[in-house]
Symmetry: D3
Subunit: 249 residues, 6 copies
């Protein structure tokens, strides 16, 4: 299967980090197709940035159809996830949602550990969206600032390890949230008395599972594709796709 | 005060309908500034359309700063509402959210009545986002289809009146959801045993109230503006605004 | 419009404080009609006091009909709010509820900051009543006691500012709860990294908005007036009003 | 033990009905002390009536102290329950709350069956107050009207039996809600495929259990008595009680 | 009435402790029938132990039918409670559930205080099962370890008193959770500013109340007995009981 | 990887049906190890049966360690799932939980469709346990009875198809609940306007994903293994496993 690892950030070094983490646990039958956004922000960390990145996610998926079998949107916060699922006809997973559904099977409560408090409101929105607040213990982050987004995982390893130890007093499962710290879970898990989840791993494994389960895609129910509609200002790939005739029950 | 009535749909006839309804109840001190989107869809009715329209909302607000004092996003479903609040420094309201907070003061439970079931999943997402499910009784709509989006309120008056009567058995307050049926509440309210809310009216009144309460805007807490950041592919208005230096606690 | 500012406490100095805060932000078209309870307690701070004050609220509103267009019940805790809405045929708002629906539009979470922990259980009940617990971060108060109820805002300014700073770590929006600290928000807001709400301001603005939206009052749904009924022991104003024939669906 | 059965309605025939039902299941050690309100309404069926009746409940309890060991407020809807618990120093139960906590032990879900839809909003408020909505299946009532409040149980036996059969499709346990239908459960339980609860029975049994468990009363925590406070306009019994010095943590 | 006090632990010293606490508050009409499990664990403190103990609970009840009128499962965590209610035709209560429904009537919020953090996940599951999380403030326990399970209450008296003082800042009512600390509430209640509940007392009083209310047992609704079914590997008492013909609606 | 498909029912024909469905979608790297319970019931359909079956699940897993890498408990209702996760050191999934976490990624709401209403209370408990009620639309089943448990899927195909069509009006995703109807989803999915999930497929795919993600098992957090403890009456496999020394944080 061809699985698009869609990085909505414009930083290719982050894409490489995500790919390395994902590849380490995928079955051989999955071929990763990494794509990095060409428009948007080096690193998404707020709702306005996510609103714009989510629009770009739709453009990117439309441009690559039908060359992939499934998509993982590889930014924690899942920009464009619901929109893409409703628009397209193949399995699509997000890092936050996939980490949460994995966590539900590994403990009663989960928390997010991330590298900056500034990003927390957007991340919390995803828990609300999924209506999983009853099992959520909050967002934890170090107080110190960070420098280069591509080396946060290395620069803040100690601070994040200590933050995890604090978070472990409040939750069974910790999700290491944010593309820049993909792969960190393996480094610190022996020191933390909680289950750690690397969300990009969870997201590609869930995409694989959905593809195995149901290759025809999510084309019914609340994600059924809307009727075709004309538009102004989109790329020809996306406007063409959205304009074609479909039906929703 | 200058209140932008931002219609994210590209149909100016809908803007006119919204303006007429809003003007009928606003105090004299409010000057409406109607703006219609130039990119996007004639009428937004799905999550992918809302994702794209929400991005356009950010562009439109950035293009009009600082000529307005407050903004009402005038499409039910509130595309771009959270993103715009976090990005900009003035009061911003949405039709769904404003109708809901008004309904909370007029009954224990509220429902949405709209003109097509196809739009319901997107509308329901707004109740989840606001965590108001405990007071929500569902979305109700006629089964029959509709033709011209600009005359839905007139074409389906009888069907919507009957739908309201059914919905009134399940909720204290009914929100007539969707820009195309702005103004309909006044026509049918005498026939329906429930409180009816015209959401564009609620939205402009809440914008007025927020402006009166707190003219400095929502610049702290969870909507505090993110740090300035460079971007690729946005208009100069929006990229310039998002790139300037700000601080978030 | 004539808006009754109904202070259910018997202390006129509190009424004056509430009026000053409310007048500072109301549009010119609103004429405040201040009324102070003649029976009850100097300052309501418990459920039994609120039970009795709520009964008095019904008496006071009945005594002033039809000379006012809307009512704001100006004690945090909203004594008699649901009862008055069901009994009478005009817009009625409460300080707690209005502050909460305003807070919903200014952040994801809100907290109450008040001047004594003794009052917290009654205040918390209002969050439960409105089913808004999912967005509530708790009640915060200084540990030190207070003296004269009419100068709490001045006597405890520093303590309340510090309490707000603590609360700001837990909520986006802080409601300065309690009539005795009306007006304090303006004094300390520059020092606190959260949105501050003065609830009497929110309550009169919501009353104005409801009056603009729907001058016929909340006479349908869950607040529809009950059938007329005879009573023993009430004033003639209130018993007469409650005895007249009405219908509820 | 002396257990006050406090009927906040002014109709003594209802008190007699309640007493008969309660006596049929109480242990010998419990002596019922029936009291009927002298001010208020023949039958409470709305929030304004409950607000006033709740104030009268406080007056009645204060007038009978210390001649009773516990109190059951014998109107479904529990007027004045929280206020009385905070004011007084002995076990107090309510019909709605006691029926609900009993139902929690007899099935996963419960519903209320009552004789008129007009009373439903007030009854539903009690489920919200107790935060038991997750186990509540709604209020069910016959459509037909009723005549004399003292013979509703007999006049509507068939209609209520049929309503129970419908409600049994939605809930495991049915609470026969309202003082006028006390005792009906025994008449119809063999015909209804659900557990039936007669709430006055549940309320006196819970009062007995609380008295057995903890005779010193609920004098700590959220029902701790407030500091003594002067008042205007209350009876000498109640004002005297509320004014005496106590402390709350 | 004959009330079986079923201790699913195999330690008879715990049974004696539970009986002593229960007898101190029961009416004379209740005759306790203490039974101690012969298979299982000296003290249950995890989910696998509770899974096995719950199976043994079914065997024990089946072996004693029809010699008892009601059953209290006397291990905090309520092993086998739902299973036993569905299987048998008499009132059955559990220590956790009974303590919780009692707490609902004595404050807004409750917490569990227990003697080891290791047991907390299993105890928390019972709050989720009952859907009472909205009123739950968490599990509190001392950090120090414990020795002999039969003298925990005495060995840790001081530590548990201090833990209660901390928990009292978070909850109105504290449940002293765990059979080994039955009776401790009476020892420390004067030092703790919260209502304390000894759960075995609550459980036997609720069993008495259910027996008074409804001697025919919970044989309808969600606990209706399932159709008779053959089995392999159970005792003849239990397999015989489960195989007999019954009907469920 | 060796994945135990543990059927807690004693009917081997059901095991064969489950294996057939699971094998149809598993990657080649997964070797199924089917095991059928030797004690218990031909088909589990109530809480007491599930209590006993869950105890047997612990015995079976203990007897097969360390010959398998992961376990799927293959009865809808997940008997023994939490207990087994806390007891053992390898990934364990359940049909209900796995179907639910899969459904969360394919729509906003899910429902269960099963072949008899008698089984519904036990199934509903699993939604409560997972705290997913906000996304659950209920249990749907045909009214007609069923005969041989091994041919329910074939005997009731038409009735279940029609039930699915009704359920599709209430939920986006339908879970075909119950081992006896494993495989049915593929037969009827083209006729039903909703996403259909075959839970055994979801359960084995989630087991595969957890094994890929985290082969060391769920040995921290809320499922951390309890301290070793002696027992009476268990098999030597299970008692030996539970008695060995481990530590929990």
């Amino acid at each position: 299967m061809r699985l698009m690892l869609l990085n909505p950030n414009t930083t290719t070094a982050l894409t490489e980090r995500l790919v390395a983490s994902a590849r380490s646990i995928l079955p051989d039958e999955v071929t990763l197709v990494p794509v990095t956004a060409e428009r948007g922000f080096p690193y998404i960390s707020s709702r306005p940035e996510a609103q714009l990145a989510g629009a770009e996610v739709l453009e990117i998926v439309a441009a690559h159809l039908p060359a992939v079998d499934a998509v993982t949107i590889a930014a924690f916060g899942d920009p464009g996830l619901d929109a893409a699922r409703e628009a397209f006809d193949l399995p699509i997973t997000g890092m936050t949602e996939a980490a949460m559904v994995t966590a539900l099977q590994l403990g009663q409560t989960f928390a997010f550990v991330t590298f900056t408090p500034q990003i927390a409101p957007w991340y919390r929105d995803q828990v609300t969206r999924a209506q999983l607040s009853a099992r959520f213990a909050g967002v934890f982050s170090p107080r110190q600032g960070f420098g280069d987004i591509t080396s946060v995982a290395e620069d803040l390893t100690d601070a994040l390890r200590e933050t995890c130890k604090v978070a472990a007093r409040h939750a069974d499962v910790l999700v290491l949230a944010g593309a820049p710290i993909a792969g960190l879970a393996s480094v610190i898990e022996k020191d933390v008395p909680a289950v750690l989840i690397d969300p990009v791993k969870a997201a590609v494994l869930q995409a694989h599972a959905l593809w195995r389960l149901r290759p025809k895609g999510a084309d019914k129910g609340g994600y059924a594709r809307p009727p075709g509609k004309a538009s102004v200002g989109l790329s020809s790939h996306l406007s063409g796709w959205l304009q074609r005739e479909t039906t929703r029950d």
